[in-house]
Symmetry: C2
Subunit: 368 residues, 2 copies
């Protein structure tokens, strides 16, 4: 058992943004809220998965919507109490702890705010080990956890509860509600026992994010090596490309941000081009017309000097970025994981190859 | 107290279709279902408003969606049990009776099916005295009844509950859920006490519909006068135009059917043209370019020979129809009523004039 205080917020937000793979929301508004919540209610208790009682009732909390909307439409605060009160009413029982739905800038901060305000502990785990656009794209679904009741609250005070025939329908109806509510909401769903949670999560997401955040924050002052090589070595990220953003196409549609970004190579990559397609999160990356990495592995764009992750809604012409990849959790490399979040789910008709293999082939081709 | 048996279904469906003003859904599928429900569970007890206990809990039930969808996508049957179970769970109390949300072909039948299946009485009243497209356009809203909890069930088994900050938000979010569920759902909402119901409804809708239905059914065998004059006299409808449908524009958008129908005059109206615009229900009617009737009064197209109402989803090229009007309930002619369902709510920038005045002016102009 440990706590999250004000001094931990920055690293968790930074590292979670990297894990967000372009999605999970810009952390700025979420940080302000988490800081305010901790100042008012005190530090948040963080529990390791094995510190959670098997008989507890726990549930993941997050923001859902188009990340571009979250930049302009913050939460009101009432959403946290609304979703918890409704969840406990539907369960006829109190919640014992929150966990993260996904790793992402905004979505690492939302559970901290919720836990601080409710005086509940936060479990060091999430349901993706990254961020995905679909509500049903999580390890809870992979492990047979129903989203019922899926509770949605908006900043105006509207509260919606969904009981669905499967988690795909939760995505369909929940997305429609999210759009109707203005494109960004808070959700609390998929309540489960502590025992079920232990076999259905990606373990240690908060502490992993915090370590990654520290790497990003300290890279510039690395001793004896370049900041970039420090960042890559310490984060374990695979470097595919360095370039300047020369074009961004972006569309908010059906409650998602769809788009693509083009990079013109700089430094060693001068003369080459890279493209990254996204649906909230980055879906695949191409270098000179060849796909070099795909979901469910993590595809991330980070500032080429500070290594601060650039979420898809913050992509801007002229920005210099590194295109890097991180391997996804093993759950996503199973047949069921690939069916739920592999390239074909996103309409990209290629066979999935693990990032490590992709990188080896890419590096070899570059040397040739 | 009386009952609705198999022999009453046809007249109620016919008359309700007239009151539906083009909307409220085609009654065909609803009739089949109501007949099946009465055959299985027996006749439905109908209560006059003053037979309802003040302390009872009652709620209106109906189908919501684009009427064109209801032609192809029937109910499954599970919706009725789903919405009632969820409503009673949220209230922590049993329902004592259903009432009609609106008068309309399908939406007069849905409450009969629901009452038969649940073994609950049905109150001879509704919340519009006609049909309107918006969920919030009812006399319950006019009388301060919240839709909370607004319970939605689809034929797949999905169930959604809305608690909203006002009934306009129920329309916005409820419509989005309806579209996501495939465009047609069953809803149970706006629970209220018997006492509140008594001051918040249009009284006697079912029996009024049944009388109108009998008029339509027997018009063809009228003695000593033409079927048309019998129909007009007995129904109290104002006759504006007789024509042949020469064009229908129809669009399903945002969960509604929008469109317009053009009539080329026949008989005495030869050489003239009429146009009716609709949003699920008929919104206004023009004859030779001048508006002759608007919401909230009832604008109806009926078959020129059989007087069977033609709902907007059944408008077809070549069909011969009478354009008639019926005065709306007095609640809709108040300032609050006109704000909620007058021409300007529908984007038609004209001042409302009561149908009787409109007709007098129209008849005078025709004579001149």
């Amino acid at each position: 058992m440990r706590t999250i205080g004000l001094e931990d917020i920055e690293d968790i937000a930074l590292g979670s943004s990297l894990l967000g793979s372009g999605g999970g929301g810009d952390p700025y508004m979420g940080k302000l809220e988490a800081i305010a919540a901790i100042k008012e209610h005190g530090p948040v208790t963080v529990l390791d998965v094995d510190e959670v009682g098997d008989e507890w009732t726990v549930a993941p909390i997050c923001g859902v919507g188009a990340p571009s909307v979250s930049l302009e439409k913050g939460t009101n605060g009432i959403e946290y109490e609304k979703v918890r009160a409704m969840m406990e009413r539907m369960l006829g029982a109190k919640l014992d702890a929150f966990l993260l739905s996904e790793a992402g800038g905004l979505n690492s901060m939302v559970p901290i705010s919720a836990a601080a305000r409710a005086g509940l502990p936060l479990i060091d785990a999430d349901g993706m080990g990254r961020a995905f656009p679909g509500i049903q794209q999580d390890t809870f679904t992979l492990n047979g956890v129903s989203t019922d009741p899926f509770v949605i609250a908006d900043e105006k005070g509207n509260c919606t509860v969904l009981y669905t025939v499967d988690n795909d329908w939760t995505e369909t109806i929940g997305r429609a509600v999210t759009s109707a509510c203005g494109g960004q909401v808070i959700t609390l769903a998929s309540p489960m026992s502590g025992a079920k949670m232990k076999t259905s999560v990606v373990v240690g997401t908060l502490s992993y994010a915090q370590r990654l955040g520290r790497v990003i924050r300290t890279a510039a002052s690395a001793h004896g090596e370049s900041p970039e090589s420090f960042f890559l070595r310490e984060s374990g990220a695979y470097r595919f490309f360095k370039g300047k953003i020369s074009d961004v196409l972006r569309e908010t549609r059906d409650g998602f941000n769809f788009g693509r970004v083009r990079l013109d190579g700089i430094g060693d990559d001068k003369g080459s081009q890279a493209v990254v397609e996204f649906q909230n999160e980055n879906v695949y990356a191409e270098v000179d017309g060849a796909i070099v990495a795909t979901v469910p592995d993590l595809i991330c764009l980070v500032d080429s000097e500070t290594f601060v992750p650039v979420t898809t809604e913050n992509l801007k012409y002229g920005k210099r970025v590194l295109l890097v990849g991180l391997p996804c959790d093993a759950a996503w490399r199973t047949p069921a994981g690939l069916e739920l979040a592999g390239p074909r789910w996103f309409g990209v008709d290629v066979e999935y190859r693990p990032l490590e293999e992709c990188y080896a082939a890419f590096a070899q081709a570059r040397r040739a």
